[in-house]
């Protein structure tokens, strides 16, 4: 009996890796199966079964099983597209760094400072923005309810920065950047709209207490 208790403790240590919602409903059930399939007199968790359990835990955490409504699936894809668009915008800015500056210098030397600032801010902020897009895509896909207001807030900030860029006259000196910003902004608007649809709301509400 104490051998089994040792083994059971070993299994429970690994089962602790599983999502809480799954453990609440199924930990004892899985444990019963593990003990039933264990060898007689086995006291330690075998390497192969430990690996199998950890792999299951990772899979459940990365790809939760609850069916995502279409709107959330599309929103997640749009957010990934947002990250890609942001990356493309950053590359565009870097690639056109010199030509844009030369054009501006020739037309309106006074604006050079503003252009320079704009370029630096785009290049500096793009990695942060890409990270945010990816993180929010992941969190929204999992149905984390905090991800929704956060996504909306990020979209609000992004909108403000677009307005600010327009006010600085960015459209005049960097049309390519403005097109990229417009694409990113549209992706943000659509994904935020999608995660607040009625079907999505039901999904987020029900998520943490899965079945």
């Amino acid at each position: 009996m104490s051998e089994q208790a040792t083994l059971e403790r070993g299994y429970r240590r690994i089962l602790a890796w599983y999502p809480r919602s799954f453990r609440a409903g199924s930990e004892d059930e899985v444990l019963a199966v593990l003990l039933a399939t264990a060898e007689d007199g086995q006291t330690r968790v075998g390497l192969a079964e430990a690996w199998d359990l950890v792999r299951g835990a990772v899979r459940m955490r990365l790809w939760p099983a609850a069916p995502r409504p279409r709107s959330v699936r599309v929103a997640v894809k749009l957010m990934l597209a947002g990250a890609a668009a942001e990356l493309a915008a950053m590359i565009t800015v870097i690639a056109t760094l010199g030509t844009v500056r030369a054009t501006v210098a020739a037309r309106d030397a006074a604006a050079l400072q503003a252009v320079y600032l704009h370029q630096v801010s785009v290049i500096g902020l793009a990695p942060v923005a890409i990270g945010m897009w990816l993180w929010l895509a992941w969190a929204n896909g999992r149905g984390e309810d905090w991800a929704r207001p956060l996504s909306a807030a990020c979209f609000g900030l992004a909108s403000l920065s677009v307005v600010a860029a327009l006010a600085q006259g960015a459209a005049a000196f960097a049309p390519a950047t403005m097109i990229a910003a417009a694409v990113v902004w549209t992706l943000g608007l659509s994904s935020v709209a999608l995660i607040f649809t009625p079907a999505a709301c039901r999904y987020y509400r029900l998520q943490p207490v899965q079945q």
Binding site: S26, E29, L31, R55
Partner: protein
């Protein structure tokens, strides 16, 4: 569909089973080739439940431990039938090409 998933659905095709029962059934169906481990089994069951292909039939307490019986839902039955037909068609085609003499004899 992964083989493990196909075999789990097959194990449930003629009646409800609990976790350990599914493992032994799958081993039997596959001629001893596939020994499901608990992690694989429950990750698959979790997904199949979420997708509505299986449901919980009933729960029992045996020796102080929860035993949950799973069964196919109508959706699960349909998906399994479709997958079985597809595999059958593929296997038939393969056998026909390997043994041209027996053409049409199999299916």
């Amino acid at each position: 569909m992964q083989e493990a998933t196909f075999l789990i659905l097959t194990a449930l095709a003629d009646g409800s089973q609990h976790g350990y029962g599914i493992i032994t059934e799958v081993q039997q169906i596959s001629g001893g080739r596939v020994k499901l481990r608990a992690g694989t089994l429950y990750t698959a069951l979790d997904r199949l439940r979420a997708d509505g292909l299986i449901g919980v039939d009933r729960e029992e307490i045996v020796e102080g431990r929860l035993r949950r019986y799973y069964r196919l839902t109508p959706d699960g039955t349909a998906v399994l039938a479709e997958e079985a037909a597809r595999l059958h068609a593929n296997a038939t085609a393969a056998l026909r090409r390997l043994n041209p003499g027996l053409a049409g004899g199999a299916a």
